[in-house]
Subunit: 646 residues, 2 copies
């Protein structure tokens, strides 16, 4: 007896010591497998299965193994205990069992029908980690990276179309899915598969909004590898980045809407409240993200007389950059806004301002760090999605609902892309051709965001049904559409092997040849953005970065004392060009040089790009290292440098 007790105590301690190690090891193992597979695929130029699809497949197999190999050891887990003494669920529960006090931590509220799902395997329960890890740790690097690596030049050229697809398109998609699903739900109620009061129209809209977040990471990776037409790439990338933000805020607004009195009736007040909520959260998150980026830019720009600049300490600079960007996300979440939107715009703003102030070392460090985090986080998420199919305990597979969802998703994508493209083509100088529209239709993959939104709430039966269905749609679209991208490109006869810079110049030349009037170029960028560009170039860039014309030249005479104080000494070399067209072109060149020296890559893929590309990168970075150092020396010696040389 004595011996036994000792043995048990040692065993307990051991378990405590190795807590969490096994679960992390499983994820590590899956990721290692995925990386080795990517390597294999790169060698054989396999394109029918992308790394994300592979990661998901491995996750699936691992989930299957865990479910059938590990045994349900915890017989008492499924029993529900009555507790009359408590009024509500405290966050920590102390329970006295046979003279030992055990501490239990509140996890969540669950419905009665889910209880048997918990007669469970503790291993499976451990593998299904907290959705808050998803939101606070795995998603931010991916979204930030998307914002940080946005190709601004092409993005702004197509801004109108991108905004239309992202805002209007997502709204259309959400409503269409909601309506179709409502039809199917009615049918299910009719067939007796569902009770009337369980599934409201707002639930359908909720499902619609979460399924509207597209994630064409697979498609974009292949586009990048094959150098597909830049406009198509930009439209798709821009749409998917912004569309995530819109879908998340929309989901939140709809979940707040729910008029409890008669959930199926339209409540105008609640509706407008939701719309206001949507706008408020979007704007607030945007402001939060940008202001963190501006603070970072200001800190990295500071040159107080007694201080060495922060860029002399690349590690501190990188650390600050990383922490402030993450704080943008966390602050937004803590303030009740949407972190994803905040971190996206934080990324865009950081790339626009802060990046220019960073030391060369930090530029490389931040680029590689975010690339690496994006790569890992993305593969963890896809592994996890694979795992979830078997480790999640409360799946509800309803064939009718699943069929309905598949139909709804494709109909919604079609009624987003085709009508909007038609409308946009009325206004666009350079039309979106038919084959681009088909390709965009085909690229409506669902991924991490849809999954993350669905897993946030899996308490009620409708929500569980939604989660299961969303998971299946993710599997299908990633494997089938992701795998079919390369054949589809050939079939639709879309140009590949395009050099983005050459492409833009060629288009500009052909345009100016066909129309010599300067106004065409002007019309290309909308008036609102020309005003913004002017303001940005004349005032913000000089204040926040070392680039741009000196403030003394752009501000009125009487502001000179202030202007001199705020302008970086290195800005005086640059002279303000007059003429609007000239300026816009100049601005394009700026972003171009920025991009070629930074090589901010497309999410996740540049990193593992083809052999030739990597070779080229090495030379570039070597050059950058030396050339940049010389530049730094010049700066230190007080020589003003031309911005166009940087």
């Amino acid at each position: 007896m004595e011996k036994l007790k000792k043995y048990v105590s040692v065993k307990d301690e051991d378990q405590f010591y190795h807590q969490g190690a096994v679960e992390l090891l499983i994820f590590n193992f899956l990721l290692i497998l995925t990386i080795l597979t990517i390597w294999l695929f790169k060698n054989h130029r396999v394109r029918f299965l992308h790394e994300t699809g592979g990661a998901m497949l491995y996750g699936l197999v691992m989930g299957l193994i865990i479910q059938y190999v590990t045994k349900s050891s915890d017989v008492e887990s499924g029993t529900v205990y009555e507790c009359e003494k408590l009024k509500s669920g405290p966050s920590t529960l102390l329970i006295n069992i046979t003279d030992q006090v055990y501490e239990y931590q509140y996890k969540r509220e669950i419905s009665h029908h889910n209880v048997n799902g918990h007669q469970g395997n503790p291993m499976l329960q451990k593998m299904t980690f907290d959705p808050s890890i998803f939101f606070n740790i795995l998603l931010p690097p991916i979204i930030f990276h998307a914002g940080y690596s946005l190709k601004k030049r092409h993005f702004f050229r197509n801004l109108g179309s991108i905004l239309t697809y992202a805002f209007l398109g997502t709204a259309i998609s959400c409503i269409v899915i909601g309506l179709i699903m409502y039809g199917f739900v009615k049918a299910m109620v009719h067939l007796g598969q569902l009770k009337q009061w369980e599934f409201h129209f707002t639930d359908c809209l909720f499902f619609g909004s979460l399924m509207s977040a597209t994630d064409p990471v697979t498609v974009l990776a292949i586009f990048h590898e094959l150098h597909v037409d830049t406009d198509l790439y930009t439209l798709l990338f821009g749409e998917s980045v912004l569309n995530d933000a819109v879908a998340i805020v929309l989901t939140h607004s709809i979940s707040i809407y729910s008029p409890k009195k008669n959930p199926n009736a339209f409540d105008a007040a609640a509706f407008f409240q939701s719309v206001g909520n949507f706008l408020g959260i979007f704007a607030g998150s945007f402001a939060m993200g940008s202001s963190y980026a501006v603070v970072t830019a200001l800190i990295s720009f500071m040159h107080l007389t007694k201080f060495t600049k922060l860029c002399e300490f690349p590690m501190l600079e990188t650390g600050l950059f990383f922490l402030l960007s993450w704080s943008a996300f966390l602050s937004a979440e803590a303030a009740g806004l949407t972190g994803i939107v905040a971190v996206l715009f934080c990324g865009v703003t950081q790339a626009h301002y802060t990046y220019n102030n960073l030391s060369l070392d930090s530029k490389m460090r931040t680029k590689q760090l975010f690339e690496f985090m994006n790569f890992l986080a993305e593969n963890v998420i896809f592994c996890y999605m694979g795992l979830a199919l078997f480790t999640f305990q409360n799946h509800i597979f309803n064939p009718l609902f699943i069929f309905g969802a598949f139909v709804a998703v494709f109909v919604a994508r079609a009624s987003n892309i085709y009508p909007l493209s038609f409308l946009l083509n009325l206004g666009r100088k350079q039309k979106i051709p038919r084959n681009f529209q088909h390709m965009m239709m085909f690229s409506g993959l669902r991924g991490a965001i849809a999954f993350a939104l669905a897993i946030r709430d899996t308490d009620s039966q409708p929500k569980q049904m939604m989660f299961t269905t969303a998971l299946l749609i993710v599997f299908f679209t990633v494997w089938v559409f992701g795998g079919g991208t390369a054949p589809m490109l050939t079939w639709l006869q879309i140009r590949v092997g395009v050099d983005p810079d050459e492409d833009l110049k060629a288009k500009a030349v052909s345009q100016s040849a066909s129309n010599l009037d300067k106004n065409t170029t002007k019309a290309e960028s909308a008036w609102l953005f020309r005003i913004w560009y002017g303001f940005d170039h004349k005032y913000l860039k000089p204040i926040l970065t070392h680039a741009g014309p000196p403030l003394t030249a752009t501000l009125p005479q009487w502001c000179n004392p202030v202007a001199r104080l705020l302008t970086s000494p290195s800005a005086y070399g640059d002279q303000l060009k007059d003429g609007d067209t000239d300026y816009i072109i100049n601005n394009d060149e700026l972003t171009e040089t920025y991009e070629s020296s930074v090589q901010v890559p497309v999410p996740s893929q540049d990193s593992t790009g083809s052999i030739q590309a990597t070779g080229k990168e090495d030379i570039h970075e070597g050059d950058l290292g030396l050339g940049g150092y010389k530049l730094q020396l010049q700066q230190a010696a007080g020589q003003p440098q031309m911005n166009s040389l940087a």
Copy 2:
């Protein structure tokens, strides 16, 4: 009523959405503050408070704020509920409270006397995170970085002394602390502050072993900044790195020892079991860590005919390197070994073999990535230690115990350093001078490992007393000794501003001048290590890396077919030097060139080094970028290159 319910549900959901964001934000904020402080200190050349001390201070203040600003909202947390139906604590508990089922997750077993500590503030509870996060996520990067950045040349020169301090010294320290504490515990029992049966001699030894883990991160940072004598630096760094591993395994072995029958009597069988356990776990962890590193080396070395090498894809290479090294830690933990020891030797082996196979891009990426993770993890740990003083709910401040512990720690350090230095000086050609011994005595700071070992188990009252005491010793040593390092160096007249390479050469020259016999140089490295070096250079390096002589030259004639298969084409350029002394010097040069081109830095500090150092680094890296690229080109063109040029 309807409205209220709706409001509550929204509020609940909101809380769910932002779960964890506030806590992470607090840590982010503390880290940002710390970075800004480091920047400030760098500018004013402040050395009386190091960044780790600063991080701890901020943590302390934040803990104070959280405790006094946030309120205890959860009145039911402190109540213990009786549960007769349960036999043992299941991992998940489902409780039915007023018709709602709540899910609770098992956290830990607690003693009756701790219960009132939980009448608590949910915010404080959230801030005290799981020790498993400490062990699985925060510690591995720090320890790996220490191994990865070990200056092998100086390390092996002083290996005998380092091993003596680390193994024998830690054992002495553990026993001395144990004995002194046992005396104090007896006194406390006598004074009625403690009950006899609560605190055994093994508990005292347990405390002794956990307090024996020294962590002179602050001292080493200042040493590095001031370029203190390399031998002193190496002795201290080597001792502290290995000593952590020894202390951890020792703590584990002692916790297993506990002969339950008469805990104060000596039980020979249990003792030898513990010793065997110690050796087994140490050897097993060593083997586990090294084998993961060897696997990484083999994968990165592979050049199958149909395959492009992994180094063509820097991101995959970095990812694999990172994941396999982390897996070494996790596998060891999962197998019941010690992850810290595994990841330490994994780091050493990775630096020795895998590093040579990496592409230039990956060399830089891995170096910067591990540096960055080390920097963040270290500061998070020190912030957390500061926080723990106020957020931890079950502190037991016993003045006598604390006083005893302070005495014990200093007596133990003295009886470790002085007698062992005396013994070592009998055998060493180059004596450890008196002032070095004083400095080593002074540098016996306690830090992350002691804290981590103490926080692992805070269930019983003795363990809580130990935790509180360990925390106070960490505070005292980091602030007082860490802050006093620079004055102490001056006072002890220890050389600063030494160039490590020059230093070694000068010493070698003076030695060969005073004693022309080759045997002196031989005697310098112990025979065991010369054999190992020979084996490593002739067989392992050629098999695992591109460096070293071709196997065809080192293996016997009849092995030629196998040898040809295993040798990298680039190895043929290197010829085996004959003569043992020549070889050892050559080997030193190898490591030297490796170090100067890599600049693997001392943990955490190189990164934030002084201005001059950073400037120099930039040039080096620029050079490396171009020079390295040329080398790669040569390799690609099939030109064999001399290893000494690399």
